[in-house]
Symmetry: C2
Subunit: 261 residues, 2 copies
């Protein structure tokens, strides 16, 4: 009972903090963005909650950076527990779906997972990029990814192991460049426990410059032509789960830090 009350108190404090730290950012005139009227939009945390909802529901597209007034809000969201709760909630729902599936068990049962911020996390990197308030830095990201120091997303690692245990062939499909990041990605996935998947598919030269929707649709089409049935497809970007051959069910994991077209 006490731990339950403490839990609720902690939660109330987090929500209050979400409001207060938005205020802190907004009340600094040097940080106030010139275009978006946060007062008209409802101010601070409420505005950022609307923004995050619109991102997750695919209403805002091709956005380049997190609105500066939402820096503290996104920092709180990503690091104070709600991001993890949202992830766990969705993975619980994926588990329910998996439990209902009757596999064909002819080696054709497939599942697709994205890599960045699905299997392994770039949160440490994005902390230094003001949680997405700074624009995308291709060279900086490449340097980071080359280190192979992304940590596993715990909920997705559990999902991965459940999928393996149930008998799915798991395909990891990533927009990372095959030539420059292939080795580091392979190693990073391995050192974080993603072992026993069917295939890691990186972006080959043929797909350079193509949008993720086009590239990933092509990959899924090839898998379908090889005879695989794609039962599920999980990613943190809408471009992971839109386009063609998306799979029987798609699941969008939260990511309020960046947008991949």
């Amino acid at each position: 009972m006490i731990s339950s009350t403490m839990q609720r108190l902690k939660e109330a404090i987090v929500l209050l903090f979400l409001a207060i730290c938005s205020k802190a950012v907004n009340s600094n005139p040097y940080r106030r963005p010139p275009i978006i009227d946060t007062e008209a939009a409802g101010g601070g945390a409420a505005y950022c909650l609307s923004w995050r909802l619109a991102v997750e529901a695919n209403n805002i597209r091709a956005w380049r950076t997190v609105p500066t007034q939402c820096l503290r809000y996104i920092e709180c969201y990503m690091t104070w527990g709600q991001y993890e709760r949202d992830l766990n909630f969705i993975v619980d729902n994926i588990n329910d779906y998996i439990d209902e599936i009757i596999l064909k068990s002819d080696d054709s049962d497939a599942w697709i997972l994205d890599v960045d911020d699905t299997c392994i996390s770039n949160l440490l990197y994005y902390k230094r990029k003001r949680f997405g308030c700074d624009p995308f830095d291709p060279m900086g990201f490449k340097t980071w990814a080359s280190k192979a120091e992304c940590s596993a997303v715990p909920a997705v690692l559990k999902l991965f192991n459940k999928l393996r245990a149930k008998g799915f062939k798991i395909f990891l499909v990533t927009g990372r460049d095959e030539i420059t990041l292939g080795q580091a990605t392979l190693y990073n996935l391995h050192n974080q426990g993603f072992i026993g998947y069917e295939r890691l598919i990186l972006r080959s030269e043929a797909y350079r410059g193509k949008s993720a929707i086009i590239y990933k649709s092509e990959i899924r089409k090839q898998l379908a032509e090889e005879g695989y049935k794609i039962w599920g497809n999980v990613g943190d970007q809408w471009s992971d789960i839109q386009g063609e051959y998306v799979g029987e069910r798609t699941f969008k994991l939260p990511n309020p830090m960046y947008f991949v077209p």
Copy 2:
């Protein structure tokens, strides 16, 4: 400056209240649902926020009722301002998109709006249905809709008028039954200021029993075959904006109270 501080204070209180009133529901043993462990899921408001996000991102589907422990949370969300803020935020984004469109101006420029909880609101009805915690009641809803007392969703009425002014042909496409609710719906839309649309399309006998995705895809296909270009498609249900001929851009308005397959 004072009004700005008051606004932030009000916002903090709302967020705190969201946490507290979840606690109130959860601490009542008669209301605690037997299956979902709210503690394990992160408890009260945080859990309900995860649930709402999963609904809006189309991760949870075919859900029948709002989780009972989220009754107060959804009540707060719908009536304390955040729902309205979310709506306004999305409509602002729709307006940005509209401003970029160069119309063909050959009477083919079309836009599709859903009716229930897009153009006109059923919030008053759902208040009596515990904001969706009670299961769908077809007869109760029919009685309500027959009264033609739904009020306009202000942000969408503004959008409607902007679309008209810019020269779009507006098609209102609803799953409401044509025979039993046609007259009331026509009257309700009119008494709320939705005047000057191109066509109101209700569910005719041919589509009875079909899912909204199938029915609405068929309608959009017919419009495309008539030569219309569907620039935008707005609804509060994923089934409004999925399927075929969805349009150049789709927009999902929030609705955490019910799910239409």
